[in-house]
Homo-oligomer: 511 residues x 2
């Protein structure tokens, strides 16, 4: 869906390892969508060394790439372009010369972010795309590591340290394969920094940001044959990180490129990043790290998405994700919200039967809003398409387990026997009855709103084992709804082991 | 994408076995899309027997269902509703009483189609969704079989015979499991009719329409573990039909429902349909039947989609399918058409290298138009989403092999090594190099249009083994295009075993 009220913005992020341009389309407070991305590994920080001097070749390469990005934005009618630079430029003794060249030769005003600003924008990316409210963010780039403490969704403290993976690799890991004493020196250096930062052990969730931790999580997903190809929201365990680290230590760089999931241009620097995360987890007592796919670039964008809100935090990440996706695929709002209304009535009215709580009720509501979005792809099998769209949107703010549960509810909202399908390794065994109960409720609600006209205003449930009478309360004709709900009540009846009587009742204007 | 210029129409098709309502949204001459479908098996013809009398219970049930359909259309603001009846009502001695009841009790004017009209609309459905131009259509319903001869896309002859599956089953196959003499009697009856119709052996393609042949094809797809769950365009072989027929003969009805792919409400009548198709194939010397997923309902719709064209035939089914899909997903027209333009230049300029012909050139062009449609789902991995959308649209007018080739070209237009993936059983071994060559061309064309601004107007190719120089002809800045094309020329270079030199050349306004 392409709205005419959309604005477009380009964000250039000149890192130590990679330079990237993203183009986003958005409607403030409503919706956003990545439209394009161009990426080039320039390794701007390469060879800076102790002198902290940007070198001629990487500078030249960077300027060429920035010129291409600028041309790209002009060609694509992107009126607003934000270009930022981080650690490499920030720390360079020849920063002003480089900035002057970029201004003159490219025509871009590069904004050099301070370490605190870099941490802040990384925090905005994470806090607006994940559901945690307390913890530590570790944003590990090529040049620097930003650590940020978050309490009740607010940034309370942050620091930027020169512990980026390119920098550490160049300084410490110069042999191939690496030698034990090189690793020991790197760890001692990291520890010396972290010793000064005891607030980074303060519990909550450890969130990992940046290309290195994403790459590590991808290697783990490949190893596990994980059913989702999705970094954002993935949980990397300490054991998995340790195991991958050992493999990286053992292999020369040329062989690391054969590790499934590890991109060639990350083969050399990923080990340093793995070691940094090992130390962070060890010292903070973290058993896992939650991967965040958003970061600095998205953080720079949120002030544009949420003008007038400072700091620009989405009030409810999960609700925004669901509505963003639903709107994008042109969902039938009145119908979907009414299915949710009826599904919640059924859920509440059968609470003693299913024993499920607020968490499942929330997921049911999200699935109700999204159940029909697949119609945009094709009416036939649209339940499958809805699930595909949900899974591939990633739904920021949800765990992978929640994401799959919502997708499977949409998958089974019309027909079929709900099951874990290919997600048994990601869901828990008890999710199967949970899914069955919720899907049976969603399906009955869907058919009670089959006419898509909100004719069944509410429900009265009368439980008298072994049967249940459901009064569909309407003010007018509800024949379509009763007919199709009766035809499709089997799953509900079987799941709750009840005979279902669906009858018309009179709506009295209340519930 | 929901255009405000869309009209909506409801089509009710009251068959002998099933009553169905479809709701279509469309823009005349441009685009159409199924929005909803409701179906109920009423078996209106049940018990008509030799007396040809519609019976009380099926009439009552049908009237209730029609009332629900009418209510559904009203509730969903469908201003135009066409309701038609076929064989059961056409042949009923109490037709006028039934029509009067429908008018009075439902408020619908049922249009009773003659056998010739039924054949004609089935033909419109088939001819506008398949690419054949000569052959025989066999539209087998519950009450009747329509046979139609097609020459150069035009209907030359048609007939309607009372050989529908419900009718034949009720008259001949009354035992369970069926007895050999019952089958012999059915076959003799069918042959007696076909003996009068020697024009139905006249070569070309045998096209099968209707729920029975779709059901048979589904059983075959399940048996073969066929990688596409798509009836339209599927080719059912004589051997497969024979094998399924033998199984249906052997099993009592209760056990037939366990045949994977066979819906419960078709278990009893499918054998009669299989026998009819066996006779048609045997007598006409057909080795296979091409399944058509469209039929009467879609045929009734085409006069609305194509006003002013009589008969309402799409001039080019394949081109319409591709553009319908591309438009629906809001494709970037100028960009896609320019990628096609460049891809065709590369294809033509390397004709001596690949030796491919007009067929591959056409597929390449379609893939170029559709390569980016997956961006609507998500930018990341949008090549995968494009393939998903193509496969799930079914692209009427293409064979399954062509459909998969187009999808795989979109799949590999950005990255990855083109392969048959899960479609080895559907594609041919020689499709792997074909796919590789075409994908390498499409990818190079895509990156030569990376700025999405048609900056590279044309190409000059200079082949001088072991290298090829490609001049990108522009009038302005083509830096983005040269840069990204150079980064992504590997597949082309490796496929054609050439070193690739990409250089800027001056556009002189011609090609």
């Amino acid at each position: 869906m392409h709205s005419s009220h959309q604005a477009r913005i380009g964000i250039i992020d000149l890192g130590s390892n990679t330079t990237r341009l993203v183009v986003l389309a958005y409607t403030p407070h409503q919706m956003y969508k990545l439209e394009d991305q161009v990426r080039e590994r320039v390794r701007l920080s390469e060879g800076m060394g102790e002198a902290n001097l940007l070198r001629a070749q990487p500078m030249q390469h960077t300027i060429e790439v920035l010129r291409l990005f600028r041309t790209f934005c002009e060609a694509n009618n992107v009126p607003t372009v934000i270009a930022t630079a981080t650690s490499a430029v920030r720390d360079a003794v020849n920063q002003s010369s480089f900035l002057a060249r970029v201004a003159r030769e490219v025509g871009l005003m590069l904004r050099v972010l301070s370490g605190e600003e870099e941490a802040y924008y990384g925090y905005l990316g994470a806090i607006n795309s994940l559901s945690f409210s307390d913890g530590i963010l570790a944003d590990l780039g090529g040049g620097s590591l930003e650590l940020t403490a978050v309490r009740q969704r607010h940034l309370t403290r942050s620091v930027s340290e020169p512990l980026g993976v390119v920098r550490l690799t160049e300084r410490f890991l110069t042999s191939d394969p690496v030698k034990p004493n090189e690793i020991a020196a790197l760890l001692a250096h990291v520890d010396a920094t972290l010793d000064r930062l005891d607030w980074t052990r303060s519990g909550g969730t450890l969130v990992g940001i940046g290309g290195t931790i994403r790459a590590l999580s991808k290697v783990d997903r490949k190893r596990r044959n994980y059913p989702l190809d999705l970094a954002h929201g993935y949980t990397l365990s300490r054991e998995a990180l340790d195991s991958i680290t050992e493999e990286l230590k053992r292999l020369p760089i040329a062989q690391r490129t054969r590790i499934p999931g590890l991109a060639d241009d990350r083969a050399d620097v990923t080990l340093a990043g793995a070691l940094v995360f090992q130390r962070l987890m060890e010292r903070g007592g973290y058993k896992e790290v939650l991967i965040c796919g958003q970061g600095l670039r998205e953080g720079l964008f949120y002030p544009y998405l949420l003008p007038g809100i400072d700091p620009p935090l989405l009030p409810d990440v999960r609700q925004f994700s669901v509505e963003n996706l639903a709107r994008f695929h042109g969902y039938a709002r009145a119908h979907s919200e009414h299915v949710r209304h009826l599904a919640w009535q059924l859920f509440d009215g059968t609470a003693n039967l299913h024993g499920l709580g607020a968490w499942e009720r929330e997921l049911l509501g999200h699935a109700a809003l999204l159940h029909d979005i697949g119609i945009e792809i094709d009416f036939y099998e649209h339940h499958l398409h809805s699930a595909y769209l949900i899974l591939n949107s990633g739904l920021p703010g949800f765990t992978h387990r929640e994401l799959v549960l919502i997708a499977q509810l949409a998958r089974y909202h019309r027909k079929g026997t709900p099951s874990l399908d290919g997600y048994a390794g990601l869901l828990l065994p008890e999710d199967e009855p949970r899914l069955r109960q919720l899907a049976s409720i969603l399906r009955l609600a869907e058919y009670l709103e089959r006419g898509k006209r909100q004719a069944v205003r509410g429900l009265h449930l009368h439980l008298a084992r072994p049967w249940i009478q459901i009064e569909a309360l309407g003010t007018g004709d509800i024949s379509v709804e009763l007919w199709d709900a009766r035809r499709n009540a089997d799953l509900f009846a079987n799941t709750f082991n009840l005979k279902v009587e669906l009858v018309a009742g009179a709506w009295d204007g209340q519930e």
